[in-house]
Amino acid sequence: MSTPLHGRPRALRLAAIGFGLTALAAGFAYAAGWIGAERLTPKRIIDTFEAQAGHYPGYRKNHAKGLCVSGYFQSSGAAAKLSTARVFSQARVPVIGRFAIGGANPHSPDASVPTRSLALQLRSDDGQQWRTGMNTPPVLAVGTPEAFYQQVLAMTPDPASGKPDPARLQAFFAAHPESAAFRQWAKDYKASDSFASSSYNSINAFALIDAAGKARYVRWSLLPQTPFAALPAQVDDNDYLQHDLRQRLNQGPLRWTLQLTLAAAGDAVDDPSQPWPAQRPTVNAGTLVIDQVDAAEQGACRDLNFDPLILPSGIQPSADPILAARSAAYSESFNRRSREAAQLGARR
């Protein structure tokens, strides 16, 4: 057995140990993003939403205003040859959903926001879940999280008018020619008078995996079976869409067709700003039936994170960087509002 060190050798070895531990701690701090170049993080995106729209404790940090619905999905069986996911073969899959309008302000008038969304959770009888968040636009303006963040900044409301500065927006779109398809959609878009007559799109592409293991890229859409009627020019009810939905569901269930659009070789499967040509083959996977609506801020959807990467086996994510960023940002929003809910709950 050696004897303990003293004096200078002891000091040197202690210093070396201290240096080693500091290096390890610095590596940890770097991995956490506490030191080093500033990165775009989920936290920064959600901070920016809150900085622009205001802080609304307990609410989702985007698409804050919405309501919970439920129903079921009736599979047509036609997609079962494309994907082994049980939802495509099970006759009736229970669904929890949430209709919302875009934006981080939970008090926005329903008619003031062009973007609407429908988020769904389908739970099949093999115990698996499929969660998807769909929006009215079929494409995004940009294809990367960094460009998306720049877009959010460019849309910062002017304190005087409460609206984005048109010159700044124009400059952003000029710098991002990939936004052409989105701008065309925005120009042609006619808002419908109801959540029931709106179409909702997956935006991102996903891979369907069939029984032989073959992958096919798809985007999906929910196409309304309720006929289109234009939103009236003047809407005084702040909760117009919510009241409309309640009224319609009092009269009977609402239906959408789940349409899968198959990509061809060369289509952009990892860039949500790029539309696919209109002649791509489609498959009608089944019918979404919504028959129940809950009270505002209540219901089974409220405490769910509609993370678009919660997928059953048979559906896989594409390499789309926006898809991964959505998942990360939704998680940050969910964590933040859960903390707020705990604080609000404790104060009650």
Partner: protein, 176 residues
Amino acid sequence: MKPVAFHPLARVLHWLMALLILAMLFVGVSMVSDLSPRHTWLISLHKAIGLALLLLVIVRIGVRLSLPHPPLPDDLPPLQRWAAKASHLLLYGLMLAMPLLGWGMQSAGGYPLPLQLPALVPHDLQLYALLRQAHGWLAYVLFASVLVHLGAALVHGLVRRDAVLRSMWPGPLPKD
């Protein structure tokens, strides 16, 4: 008669878990600040290693309780003796708590669980907030404990030059 070194099984478990825990801490802390496609992959990895670590720590607690282990050096001052015992209890507690908190928070958050594991606790947003924050803060405590543990082991091996580091040596025991 107390052994001079830990049982080979205890040493294998120690070093395997040491590597996995360090990897977990780095994966965990980087994935929550990352929004690239790597985020998705890191989360799957984090869940898989977490589950493996839960199984390993259960085996390890059994090994610790059933096999004899070497005593601390006789000349260790009482305060250091106490610190050694307390820090090991803390490490064992955290090794058990972290995967259970991860499993519990996923349950409370209403997330689907890997391998269709049952939910540990009911779906409850406020409970999720508590467990999610505990998982995050205790990860920092665990990293700090690992640093202290590593520092102490190196002081034993390189400065005090007693039998402590050698008793957990990853390979065949070095001769005197």
